[in-house]
Symmetry: C2
Subunit: 218 residues, 2 copies
């Protein structure tokens, strides 16, 4: 998992090249912490960017949706797709407006996606998607039946051509600005859970298991 | 701001149409709470999806970046662009794997973007971008000088063709699953701030002002 991946002309980071990272380990750590991607595809001339969940197994990314989804059907035609995952870590407050920034980690994957036909791989991909978002849930929920599997499409995308961009650390100001009288530093941001909201139809004596009460993305 | 916007064939929500919302008020509330968008454009055949910050004034969306940015220069050629903003509100745990979902609010805007040439509108757009992300910061930081303004490009996109998708509330299970013995409900997620990290080069006696210590997106 630690082999580096040579950037292509399409994935080499040109703006702020020092933020460009091309090893799989960094990319996969980002993909494994997030669970919402933005899928870009261009059915005609107009691109669309649609948020959806995803899972990863090895060098494959899986997305899923309704078998009637226009997006999934279009992607299965083999049109070029871009999948981007962005984790926001903080706001970077410099002395100058110009040097303000954000700390973030993002992965951009280019390629094509293909419908998973094999029933065993499809079920396994759905398990991976579920466990990616809420580890422990798959074995504690009612599993998909034949009808539901038929109504669901899963697409596989090979993670071959990708780039990662990472910014961390304090603001970088111009030398003459360090004396400017304002606060400077990082305001970290984090996605955290709030108090559980049980389904009104849930038996009130049923308690949430640890994989839900202790849920965290880190 | 409360007039409704008729969906076009390109923006009408087909999957889960009950989640489709087309009024500007809902869309603008989502745009104003978020500050990261994913910009999709297709320089050639391959779409790219790039995260960036944004600001809004009236029916215009502004994005900015380096004047050397390939993305901004490409967009200014008038290629079709899609800007998507997604706010994740929670994980929806149903009894069946199939009925698991997420609570979210997203806006998809289609159109084209144009370089802001007028110096006054450009400076105002940069103020809007800054105030959108950290209200109060503009008046407390060193403002852009001529050289920095020249090195920055601002693009304007008219918010004409858009759609909004919203899911809220508890899981919806199939009737026969309500007796399935598992916890069900919503695990709310929220982006919150963590303890400030002052710049190591900051005078340690300088305290952060309330617009930073009380920062919140709500």
């Amino acid at each position: 998992m630690s082999q580096s991946n040579m950037p292509t002309a399409r994935t080499r980071v040109v703006r702020e090249p020092e933020r460009g990272v091309y090893d799989r380990e960094t990319a996969y750590a980002i993909l494994d912490e997030g669970f919402i991607c933005h899928v870009g595809f261009t059915p005609n001339e107009q691109p669309f960017v649609i948020p959806t969940s995803y899972g990863r197994k090895g060098d494959n990314l899986y997305i899923h949706g309704s078998a009637a989804s226009r997006m999934l059907r279009k992607l299965n035609e083999g049109v070029p797709v871009c999948v981007t995952v962005t984790l926001l870590d903080g706001l970077v407050l410099a002395r100058s407006v110009f040097n303000h920034s954000m700390n973030y980690r993002s992965v951009v994957i280019l390629g094509t996606a293909k419908l998973v036909d094999d029933p065993q791989e499809k079920l396994e991909a759905l398990r991976i998607l579920s466990e990616h978002i809420i580890p422990g849930r798959w074995d504690d929920a009612r599993l998909p039946n034949e009808k539901e599997l038929k109504a669901t499409s899963v697409l596989r995308m090979s993670i071959d051509e990708f780039s990662t961009k990472v910014r961390t650390g304090p603001p970088i100001d111009d030398e003459e600005d360090y004396s400017f009288p304002t606060w400077a530093g990082v305001l970290p941001l984090e996605m955290v859970t709030q108090a559980l909201v049980p389904d009104p139809k849930l038996d009130p004596t049923r308690e949430a298991p640890p994989y839900i009460t202790d849920y965290s993305r880190k």
